[in-house]
């Protein structure tokens, strides 16, 4: 991240912030979408996070920590949107019906369905750790710093989240085996 841009935006330079926001917006939306599993909620969370960053930037003391600090605001916005999801959204998700099946290693439709279900059962706390570690490739100590939690807590959340996802995949494998046996 260009710290000069951060410093200029911190001092109220809207053009500098526009450049900064343009640089991070796509990545933020991708992270929010993976945490929330819903593009509308992810867009709202991203919008809220980008506005919060602008508003609170003067309070960031160490501009070198912009990345971690801004991700923390994004995850906070995801929490807020996640609460709305529980309140109003049906538990069903809208997808194009003719979505092509991918040919990579994991992607049987059944695997993806099971992962989706397993992931939605996780709390936002657990989802955020999984996405930061396995999608953004952040080491766990940086995940912990970003989320403002002890490293042990990050490790624990990752462990239980992955255990839940593994159980979801195994449950699918068992049901497939049973179907074949019948």
């Amino acid at each position: 991240m260009d710290t000069d841009l951060v410093v200029r935006a911190q001092h109220g330079d809207r053009e500098a912030y526009a450049v900064l926001a343009t640089e991070i917006a796509d990545r933020f939306l991708a992270v929010a979408r993976r945490i929330l599993r819903d593009i509308d909620l992810a867009e709202d969370a991203t919008q809220q996070a980008l506005l919060s960053i602008w508003q609170d930037l003067p309070q960031l003391r160490d501009t070198a920590r912009f990345d971690a600090w801004s991700y923390r605001l994004l995850v906070r916005a995801c929490y807020a949107e996640g609460r709305k999801e529980r309140r109003w959204a049906p538990n069903l998700h809208l997808l194009p019906a003719d979505e092509p099946t991918r040919g990579d290693g994991m992607s049987s439709v059944a695997d993806r369905d099971q992962l989706e279900r397993g992931f939605r059962r996780l709390t936002i706390d657990h989802r955020a750790v999984v996405v930061m570690h396995h999608y953004l490739d952040m080491p766990l100590d940086r995940v912990a710093e970003t989320l403002g939690i002890p490293v042990g807590t990050a490790q624990s959340r990752l462990h239980y989240a992955m255990r839940g996802l593994r159980a979801a995949l195994d449950a699918d494998a068992r049901s497939t085996t049973q179907e074949v046996a019948r």
Binding site: F28, D40, D98, A173
Partner: protein, 300 residues
């Protein structure tokens, strides 16, 4: 059984699918708001000890503080005390205007609601041009006087009074059958209901009930300022208004609104297809809603 390494590989691969998000729309909304969104500046209040004061000085300062507080109180608390005799003040905008979230436009075509954890079935349906999706509810003329909409719910409990809902959650909860839910909805206080009829949705038998919000009901007077008919799977009932932060685009009821609710039993899962329209919804919009409902296919 998967190994840890398998799971990690699968999860990483899954997280990397569909990496085509573009935040252009969000970015436009944010940049539009920058000019009217002030930054929160750091205000430093240095920690300082005042020199020792004698009692007389302390009392004088305390009296001065009381006088200032009283003057401020008169200035800001007494109605009509502001700007007496002067020109009308120009209203100032709120510090942080928040853009009304826009729904996502749906291209005409066939979609399905993925099943999530809620039920063992998949709902496929076809939408024409002009429909949008927000929070997995498809709508046309979102928020307008001619709105029509359709969504799918797994209902776990209902409120006896959708307006005064805070203290009216059914206890014990509504039973598990289609009839249980239909009865509970028909019994709701202050909601005009039609008798149930038997129809079919997606090839499955369904109970159809028409429920409307009284046209003269001011929903702002309801608990927490909104109307609440049921709890869905995973939703929490909270009486505490502080725990509610309602997104205005998500409020699902308005005065005069008519909900046509279809309750289905699909392979043992009770599923509710909830459609609604407004008194001002056009015949064309209603026909499109009906066509979407007719296009539903259910895949166990």
């Amino acid at each position: 059984m998967s190994t840890d390494r398998d799971t990690t590989r699968i999860v990483r691969s899954w997280l990397r699918t569909d990496e085509h998000e573009s935040a252009d729309r969000v970015l436009d909304a944010v940049l539009d708001q920058l000019d009217t969104t002030p930054q929160r500046r750091v205000t430093w209040w240095p920690v300082r000890r005042f020199p020792e004061m004698n009692t007389t000085v302390k009392l004088a300062l305390a009296a001065a503080a009381v006088v200032v507080a009283a003057l401020l109180g008169i200035r800001f608390l007494v109605p009509g005390s502001q700007n007496v005799g002067g020109p009308a003040e120009t209203p100032t905008p709120s510090a942080t205007p928040v853009a009304f979230p826009q729904p996502t436009a749906l291209a005409p075509g066939t979609y399905f609601w993925d099943v999530g954890t809620a039920s063992p079935v998949r709902f496929a349906f076809t939408v024409p041009d002009g429909w949008t999706n927000r929070n997995d509810i498809i709508r046309k003329d979102h928020g307008g006087s001619g709105e029509v909409a359709l969504g799918v719910w797994i209902v776990t409990n209902t409120y006896a009074d959708p307006c005064q809902w805070r203290e009216s959650l059914l206890d014990p909860p509504v039973g598990p059958t289609v009839e249980d839910l239909a009865t509970a909805l028909l019994d709701q206080v202050g909601r005009n209901a039609s008798p149930p009829t038997d129809v079919a949705v997606g090839g499955y038998p369904a109970t159809r009930i028409e429920l409307s919000v009284p046209a003269d009901l001011d929903i702002a007077t309801c608990d927490n300022g909104y109307y609440r008919d049921w709890l869905q799977e995973g939703e929490l009932h909270s009486r505490n208004p502080d725990l509610d932060s309602v997104d205005p685009s998500n409020v699902l009821f308005r005065s005069g609104q008519v909900n046509v609710v279809y309750i289905l039993d699909v392979e043992g899962a009770r599923i509710v297809v909830n459609t609604w329209h407004m008194p001002g919804s056009s015949e064309a919009n209603l026909a499109e809603l009906e066509a979407i409902l007719s296009s539903v296919s259910i895949e166990p």
